[in-house]
Amino acid sequence: MSTDLAPAPPRGVVTVRTRALEHVLRALVRDALGGRATDVDVRLRDDGGRLALWAQAPLVPPLSSTLLADLHRDRATIARRFAELTGREVSGVDLRVTGLREPVTAPRVT
């Protein structure tokens, strides 16, 4: 009889810190709404085992259709891209627009 205690799966875990997830969300919101990443405020919380995203940022025109239609499309894009990039299941995205900004001309990093 063997008395080995554990089967031997490869050791080690991968931990993605909240900060890393926040950076991803900030970049996605910045890409969707335009403007600078530093203007974007993000929060993550658990929602019954899934991840709920929250972000607020100023909006930079131009819009492709109505404001609301644009923002709902942005929410969908953010949820989908976030799930793709992080592998987390997203329960919802709350977006809050805090104002309108002039377009910035600085080159984008991502």
Binding site: M1, P7, T18, R19
Partner: protein, 199 residues
Amino acid sequence: MSAPATGPRGLDPVARRAARRSLHRSRSAPAVVTLVVAAVLAVYLGTEAVLRLLDRPALLATPGALADAAVRVLQDPSPAVTAVGVALVVLGVVLLGLALAPGHRSRRAMAHERLAVVVDDAVLASALTRTATTVAGLQRGRAQTWLTRRLADVRLQPTSGVEPPLEQVRAAVAEQVRITAAVPPLRAEVRAAARGSVS
């Protein structure tokens, strides 16, 4: 002398007796204290009785005076006497409890052919926690295991948005419980908390 082995069933008799010593609390300390107190009282009463027979002066009081005092005190119980009585009753209950309760320690025996193997519950619980977190790919602190007599209850705190591989964790934990072969047999339960942790 071959006393019937009263240790965990499922072990061979010799191992059973050996395991029993580790699995149950020893009663020798309370027994020794109780017997020493009883012996001192008996020696004192015996001394007083002998002194009385020899017509020598008593150490504290003659046996007759002691008996009279006891009767007098019981006929007119003051609060102090009641308190002493209550204390004696409590002491008696405690001693009875020590004598009759199984006195389990938080350890358990493992079935083994010749050896008496005894494992601490804390060790077993942390081994199960370790297995669960390793298989689930979580940090060590994200699972907790509670052990009762017959149940190992493993709780995982999953990562928000990541479905914990409960079936795999269940299989791994069950396998480890099976290998451990604790006596009495353990049943493993693995659950995930409803709320996850963001990172």
